[in-house]
């Protein structure tokens, strides 16, 4: 934690962990498009399994908070490393916009997480641990998860906010995915170009997939 490289490695590892989490989140959400019943069942499992609730969930929250906190800390250090700015600077000639604006795209994703927690996580915690209803059922006897998901995307403004947020996530991942491998010291003439391509694929497909799911549920209630 004391040196620049250690901090960057931890930033990369927490980022890679969040990439894995995002993949499973996407796969489960995608079930809501192809099979509401399976989505309900998996959601109920994820929401009630003690290992996931009391081990994986705290690790995930720690990972998110750590990645955010370290990102802000590094940004402050980096700003201090150049105390006088250039009168004329053309960073666009030597680096991508995404790579230079990770803090801003990252903060936008975090702002989105605030909304996302307000939408899903806080109600979920309230139902399960405040009201003590672990059944996952509606009064009608059906599972509540798919119903709750659909209800949220009835609002065009919320759907729009989700879509915009995923664009920021895409920009963040377009640099973040391959950058994480470089930070942990992985660089190979043959495999690094493959990782870069895989990173671009992930960064585009997963956020667009989330956008598709949000729009799918918005459109399906119209």
């Amino acid at each position: 934690m004391k040196t620049s490289i250690a901090r960057k490695v931890l930033m990369a590892l927490s980022g890679l962990f969040l990439l894995l989490f995002l993949l499973q989140h996407f796969l489960i959400n995608f079930l809501s498009v192809i099979s509401p019943d399976s989505f309900n069942e998996v959601s109920h499992f994820m929401g009630t399994n003690p290992l996931i609730q009391f081990l994986m969930q705290p690790i995930l929250i720690f990972g998110v908070v750590f990645h955010l906190g370290m990102g802000i800390y590094l940004e402050r250090l980096n700003k201090k490393a150049r105390n006088v700015k250039y009168a004329m600077n053309k960073p666009g000639t030597n680096s991508s916009w995404m790579s230079r604006n990770m803090i801003y795209t990252g903060l936008m994703v975090m702002a989105f997480l605030g909304l996302h927690f307000y939408d899903f996580w806080i109600p979920e915690i309230t139902v399960k641990y405040v009201e003590g209803d672990m059944s996952g059922l509606l009064a009608s006897g059906e599972f509540r998860y798919f119903h709750e998901l659909q209800e949220k995307f009835h609002d065009p403004i919320r759907t729009g906010l989700y879509v915009v947020s995923f664009v920021f996530l895409m920009l963040h991942l377009l640099h973040g995915f391959q950058s994480a491998f470089q930070s942990v010291g992985f660089s190979h003439r043959k495999y690094t170009p493959i990782i870069k391509k895989l990173g671009n694929l992930y960064a585009i497909v997963i956020p667009l997939g989330f956008v598709f799911i949000a729009i799918f549920h918005y459109v399906s209630h119209l």
Binding site: L77, R82, R100
Partner: protein, 255 residues
């Protein structure tokens, strides 16, 4: 050579000394040949300033053939100007057009304080080098012939490529975080790849990185700007290698 040459407007950072504030000032030069190097163009300006009785612009230069790493300058928003794979002394005026306005600033980093005008103090690089950028040898008179140790061609080539770093600081100047990772990684790699350097490899990388941080350079965000602007084309692979070396050294070091 075409006719009268170019007329240029120069916006140059002027700063009396390390303590004074400094500001951009505007100068005009005329009759600049497209065959001149950028530094020769500055020489013309300085002749003009001296004749006018004003203080010439201080800038670093030495060999003027792209080897010493002494010349610097942030020209029109890029380290060593708009050309690629060149130092400022190798930058030709043909890269500019008649009537252009050219911004000339010192390399900016907290670890590279301005000494005067465009001259910055890059001794932070020397201190990083002193922290471990060497191989300790016995100079008793019976030193072994270097060629007696077989080295794979690929390793020798990579070590040589890393060793072409001239320590100019363009990487730091170009990095949005003023990070010195490309420089330090080149200096770590040129030894880490060779058997002679492996003996002190762990201490070297740990000490050099520690010194790098102490000097106040920023952290690497992997934007790759350094590699693009490096006059010697030092590869980002070196940064990954240093990260690996650093990780394994910090995990396995004794005491």
């Amino acid at each position: 050579m075409s006719g009268k040459g170019m007329n240029l407007t120069l916006k140059i950072w002027r700063q009396k000394n390390a303590q004074s504030k400094g500001k951009m000032e505007t100068y005009n030069v005329s009759g600049i040949s497209e065959h001149m190097s950028f530094l020769e163009m500055l020489d013309v300006l300085n002749e003009q300033l001296i004749n006018e009785g004003t203080e010439p612009v201080a800038f670093d230069h030495d060999c003027r053939e792209g080897i010493c790493g002494m010349c610097s300058l942030y020209i029109n928003g890029e380290a060593h100007g708009p050309d690629r794979g060149v130092t400022t002394c190798q930058l030709h005026m043909r890269m500019f057009n008649d009537g252009d306005t050219i911004y000339i600033e010192p390399f900016r980093a907290k670890a590279f304080p301005v000494v005067k005008d465009l001259v910055v103090d890059r001794s932070a690089f020397d201190r990083i080098q002193h922290a471990g950028g060497f191989v300790s040898i016995n100079t008793s008179g019976n030193t072994q012939d270097a060629n007696a140790i077989p080295i794979p061609k690929a390793d020798a080539d990579k070590a040589f490529d890393a060793a072409t770093c001239i320590g100019c600081g363009a990487c730091v100047a170009s990095c949005k975080n003023a990070s010195a990772m490309l420089y330090v990684s080149a200096k770590v790699s040129q030894f880490a790849l060779l058997p002679q350097g492996k003996i002190e490899a762990k201490e070297r990388v740990l000490n050099m990185v520690e010194q790098m941080d102490e000097e106040g350079f920023g952290n690497c965000t992997n934007t790759g700007a350094c590699e693009v602007e490096c006059p010697k084309g030092i590869s980002l692979e070196n940064i990954a290698r240093m990260n690996r070396e650093y990780l394994s050294a910090s995990i396995t070091k004794e005491s």
